[in-house]
């Protein structure tokens, strides 16, 4: 599986016109032919595609992610430097949008077609249609430039010498806007899915049965309807966490968060094959792990999913 990912990435990047030397010479404003040739030699770009692919895969087998040509540093160092920022950003945004989205979804789905449902559905549709970069910029102009409540960008105050809790608070204040921008858009998505799921469940027989038992409405909404509608939402959570890795490129650039998405973008524009493959590999592993957790969650939510016990 991962091998296919490696192969595809390698060939895709190979098919893009221009290589790491082209990108580098451009960034320094030019150089003569001898310089270009010696650089290609140093980067191993004078060898054939297959020789380079083989070299990469064989070093990967020894858990060596290689050397980034665009940054002139080991790929692993770069990834470990940037990954925590993105995980923090993505984790907070996912948690926030999932929590808020499902809560609002329950409110909307409790009484489908009611006035409250209409308002929430419309607002969520508008939010979902907003491009994340635009939302990011608007939030930044309103809250950072006009009101000056929050910093415009960065992950923490530069060279502030803060430690411990004050540093954590500082990072949190820097994260409010990027997390907000990311979460607002995905909140809409979770809300829509939750609401649609609940609307479907209302029509099922067991809800009628619960009603006829004389259960209170709030108990029916929470224990029976919402719980059953939660399953597609959890599926969505798994899919969405992968999408958020990519979606954070834009937000990371706008808010100057040194994260994974920005690193990927720099790797592509610098035609930095080892770095890009490192990033994609780590992302793939990350997505696999998240989905494993999601699968375990299923079992907790729906006893029928506990398929490990042999059917009688």
């Amino acid at each position: 599986m991962l091998l296919i990912v490696i192969l595809l990435t390698f060939l895709l990047l190979e098919s893009a016109s221009g290589d790491a030397v082209d990108a580098y010479l451009l960034s320094i404003g030019g150089g003569d032919a001898t310089v270009a040739q010696s650089l290609r030699q140093a980067y191993g770009l004078d060898q054939s595609v297959f020789a380079r692919l083989w070299l990469y895969v064989s070093s990967l087998a020894r858990f060596d992610l290689g050397w980034s040509v665009a940054f002139d540093r080991p790929v692993l160092d770069l990834i470990f430097e940037r990954l925590p920022n993105t995980l923090l950003l993505m984790g907070s945004a996912t948690a926030l949008s999932f929590g808020l989205g499902s809560a609002l979804g329950i409110v909307a789905g409790a009484r489908p077609e009611s006035a409250g449902d209409r308002v929430l559905s419309t607002v969520s549709l508008i939010l979902y249609a907003i491009p994340s970069f635009w939302l990011g910029l608007v939030l930044s102009i309103v809250f950072a430039v006009q009101l000056r409540w929050l910093p415009t960008s960065g992950i923490e105050t530069i060279a502030s010498g803060k430690t411990g809790l004050t540093r954590a608070a500082d990072i949190a204040s820097h994260l409010v806007l990027p997390v907000g921008a990311l979460a607002l858009i995905y909140t809409a998505l979770f809300l829509r899915v939750m609401r649609a799921g609940m609307a479907d469940v209302w029509a099922l027989d067991f809800v009628l049965f619960a009603r006829s038992k004389g259960l209170s409405r709030s108990r029916i909404v929470l224990r029976h309807v919402a719980r059953n509608a939660l399953l597609p939402l959890v599926t969505m959570l798994g899919l969405q966490s992968a999408a958020m890795l990519g979606g954070s490129v834009v937000i990371e650039s706008i808010f100057a968060v040194p994260g994974f998405g920005r690193l990927a973008q720099e790797a592509v524009s610098g035609r930095d094959a080892p770095l890009l493959m490192g990033i994609i590999l780590v992302s793939a592993v990350l997505v696999i792990c998240i989905n494993l957790v999601i699968d375990l969650l299923y079992a907790a939510l729906d006893p029928r999913v506990g398929a490990s016990e042999p059917a009688a």
Binding site: A16, S17, G18, D19, A20, D22, A23, L25, L26, S27, I28, G29, G30, G31, D32, A33, V35, A36, A70, F71, D72, R73, L78, E81, R82, L137, S140, I141, A144, V145, R148, P151, T152, S153, G154, I155, I158, A159, S253, I254, F255, A256, P258, G259, R262, L263, S269, G270, R271
Partner: protein, 536 residues
Amino acid sequence: MTIANLSRRTFLQAGAGLLASTALPTLARAQDAPSGGRLIVAADSEPKNLNPAIVASNGVFFIASKVIEPLAEASFEGKDGLSPRLATSWEGSADGKSVTFRLREGVKWHDGKPFTSADVAYSALNIWKPLQNLGRLVFANLEAVDTPDAATAVFRFSKPTPFQLIRNALPVVSSVVPKHLYEGTDIATNPANVKLVGTGPFKFTEYKPGEYYRLTRNADYWNKGEPKLDEVIFRVLPDRAGAGAALEAEEIQLAAFSAIPLTDLARISKVPDIKVISKGYEALTYQLVLEINHRRKELADLKVRQAIAHAIDKKFVVDTIFLGYAAASTGPVPKNAPEFYDASVPAYDFDVAKANALLDEAGYPKGADGNRFSLKLRPAPYFNETKQFGAYLRQALAAIGIDAQLVNADSAAHQKAVYTDHDFDLAVAPPVFRGDPAISTTILVKSGTPAGVPFSNQGGYENKELDDIIAKAAETVDTKARTDLYKQFQKLVAADLPLINVAEWGFITVARDSVLNVSNNPRWAVSSWADTALQS
């Protein structure tokens, strides 16, 4: 001035003058004393090799010029447009085979070791000449550097090398690095390429990838009383809109190199306490150039090239694309290089009728669909303005019956398509004029450059007469004769149009009013900032 002329405005001016004269002494004192403070600047890139002796590019200089100094810096007032830095004087021999530098005494490296002529000799012979992107050309014939004493360095050339070229190149090619840290190591991978050690007003203190560079005051700087600032921080802000927001929110105090897009300038200039400055880039003039592939039969015809030149409305380009922050070009040397600039070259007014007539004459009549022929047009993606000019040019060419197909690609792909594969008919490029035509301008038109060299003539243009002038100027030692050759060069390029020069521009600096001594030399953004101060 008669009484009748005394208007309300005059009174106001007089009043303001009076106010200023009383306020001045305190202000002047504030500039004399070290102001201290931390200047935070927007940076949009993080060069992997920060050593300006190896990589002489603006992206590197922007940060490194505060730490590592050249022999001389560009200057508005100084003789020959230079002000002394690590060298105090320089003189070329009559035969063009040697240049003698007197070096500043009492200068120390940031690690405490003394700076001597040995450092200059080492940098020149081991780094500038063999490794540096521009030094490889300027110092191609450098044979030896004699060091009769610690404060004298004599450069010896195997062939006559114009002193004018060396002088003009000094600010860019002569960054001196410490011999004691580089000698006997692999220069390309030396850790000092990232953690810089220099003689400059600021020491390289900290680099957090993706976040910032921190430079701190060098208390032992050779020019007593400088630097004024305690710290300079380059904050990495990849998004241009983000840089604007950070400036407005006072998180940063300065954004250079047009980090704030031109379209935002009108708005941001209205923000109180923010100034928009177009000065300070005179020695870093960028040129908007239309590269032509002469392998195309139609484009090999001078009349077609003239028609294209007539079809471009330079005034529109300057006013609409550059919003006035540019000037129309007349030829391959910009007006900002008065030493060489010659205005008396063939000119091409915006004249669509004439352009159409020229194309008819050339034997390319309009077809039934109104088109004469199609061309592939590749605008370079490096600047908004090069992309916008590509879109404009497509329309301008349509007006004269040339159907231009726009092909957009990212930087690396554009680079390979144009400069290696020659897969273009027309390309929009932004080359830089670096103080002397021999550094990066003649290469745009002379023949014989192998494929794969960016910002060079890859359009297959060959003109023996032009090549001869360029070759002769390269070895003409006499300044006057050399300058005259470059005037001929300009005339010939403008007449034969190997490429079409459209406009030339410098960048824009946007700063808070509290930042003092901004843009006071022609390479300000990439100079040392030793006298830059913050008003408290």
